[in-house]
Subunit: 347 residues, 2 copies
């Protein structure tokens, strides 16, 4: 079968690899019908060394179940399914608390942590298939597929940011980052009732989509200038919640620059740093709460899918290009160049 591999920074190739196949009784084999490139895939695209490659890529997909292991009970051949970016049994103590990204099952993992499988491919072996996969009540060629595909990661991740940030009708919100996750955070903040949603981003096509999703203000400036602008928009105080959807240190610094005293910074951009300011001058002195992490998108699918099926939200608008699998390397490049916001792969 064909699959996408990253050899090192900037070097993505589509190659023939051994066919994925069932290994454990709880596995399913899925023929992928839609996957995509994630903003987080761009982190290794900038930094991967040859020693860490080649790595199979992709953690978001929709596909058709081709075969199930003997212990799989809720799925059958022919089912159309969506997969969260994290594999979980959806049954352990953490899963029951809706923290599937911390599932305690030995086979639980992130797709990015599984050596021989990736979603930017023709097929994939899904461990813990009953827990991980969710059936979709549409056909594989439905016009809703792009929106349903966002349930894998970006919609649930933006929603996780807003939920953990405590967004509600009484909170003002700043979203940092106009990538797909940032735009999903805007949509999520709107869904949770926020009336003022300030989007910090400087790519107009994206911030225009952000306005469509619910942003009330756009701040193109960055750093201290950007912080000053947000403060100006909030009577000098900053916003109750900041949703940080980038992961780089300047975005974190912006976050504590624009947060209101007593407010919450919710991070879903994967931090590209380990140490950062959290002392008296940044978080502690003003009682700032820092929260967030890898989104248990499995937990949010049941809640968000009906809104997609009913046309209430259209998160699939973040896809501005569709290519076939061989187009994956070009898709990475186009996203890295910011020619495309998010590229859908239709193998």
């Amino acid at each position: 079968m064909r699959a996408t591999l990253m050899y090192s920074a900037g070097d993505v190739r589509v190659e023939t690899v051994p066919d994925s196949r069932i290994k454990h009784p709880t596995d399913a084999l899925v023929r992928i019908t839609a996957s995509c490139v994630c903003g987080s895939d761009l982190h290794p695209y900038h930094s991967m060394t040859t020693a860490d490659g080649p790595a199979r890529m992709g953690h978001e997909f929709i596909g058709v179940v081709e075969e199930v292991g003997p212990a799989v009970s809720t799925l059958k051949r022919g089912d159309l399914v969506v997969s969260p970016f994290a594999i979980s049994d959806n049954a352990c103590e953490f899963c029951r608390e809706n923290l599937q990204t911390s599932c305690s099952h030995p086979e639980a993992n992130f797709w990015d942590g599984i050596e021989d499988e990736g979603a930017q491919a023709e097929a994939i072996r899904v461990p813990l298939a009953d827990g991980t996969l969710v059936k979709l009540p549409v056909a594989a060629d439905s016009a809703l597929i792009p929106s349903l595909l966002t349930l894998s990661d970006v919609l649930g991740t933006g929603y996780h940011a807003a939920v953990k940030g405590g967004v509600n009708a009484r909170t003002t919100v700043t979203v940092i980052g106009d990538g797909a996750v940032g735009l999903m955070a805007v949509l999520s903040a709107k869904r949770l009732g926020a009336e003022q949603i300030i989007l910090m981003g400087r790519h107009q096509a994206r911030t225009d989509l952000g306005r469509e999703f619910g942003a009330t203000d756009v701040v193109a400036e960055r750093g201290e200038e950007g912080v000053a602008k947000v403060r100006e928009l909030t009577g000098g105080l900053g916003t109750h919640v900041v949703l940080e959807a980038v992961g780089h240190m300047p975005a974190y610094r912006q976050a504590y620059g624009v947060i209101r005293a007593g407010g919450t910074i919710s991070r879903v951009g994967v931090p590209q740093y380990e140490d950062a300011p959290i002392g008296f001058g940044s978080l502690f002195g003003r009682n700032i709460t820092l929260t967030g992490g890898p989104a248990p998108t499995r937990a949010y699918i049941d809640e968000l899918m009906p809104d997609i099926l009913n046309g209430i939200i259209e998160p699939g608008k973040v896809f501005d290009a569709t290519v076939n699998l061989d187009g994956a390397p070009g898709g990475y490049q186009a996203m890295d160049n910011r020619e495309n916001l998010k590229v859908l792969l239709a193998p």
Copy 2:
């Protein structure tokens, strides 16, 4: 009048200073009847340079109103009052949200931020007296004074940790630090219903008091050994909440070592660091929330005082020595040597 000054690390003196007096119409002048030395006073006691001294010390007190400015409406000469460690108008947008430590009034400040006043003294000028001070319904020589004095800081600070940490009957809790604030955090976690409260501390007199306040387990080990011990006590998982009442980096590292995935670290020990680990390996990967800050103890007085007056809690047990004002330098030394847990000053 007599007041306590810190000249530099280890050098505390009681000297004659100009009498405190009313300066603004909203001031009150208070004759101090009880104050104390705080664990946070030991930070400058370890690190202050002569360039930063001499500094007036003390931010916790009970006293009798001697005089009020013409704009003070809720207090009169003779009232016995307690002061939070933060001055606030108790009326601004932040105060109404119970975040008096971020009061937006220009005269709002922490006592430690006011150059010419300190509570380890015979008298003190209290700015924004109507907002800051709370009347006590007892006499200045009541046996309840030590407990009521903890409303200034340590009780409210421990309680803030527990409230911000989201402690309730379904959460397990680790408290890091067996100083007065740590012990108050134990008492607070118990008051909020936690059933398992693990106290990390190695001074037996203190951890014994911690057990009296509600600790179910005591872990004397520190660092990795201590983390392993807490994990052993919690089925390998760690606790839902960690209340960090120290402020040094090793305590913070312990905090993220013993926190359960999805849990909350609530800090009230004033951080003696600015940068610290918050990336994938420490907080982000397991969806850990970090919260806390200077406690708006003003906000908690109305809630906690009745429990003291009714004898339900006895936080004053943290005081294990009482000296007169001239004994302040010895009190610092005794607390620093850990001969005393917390020293009450009765001028």
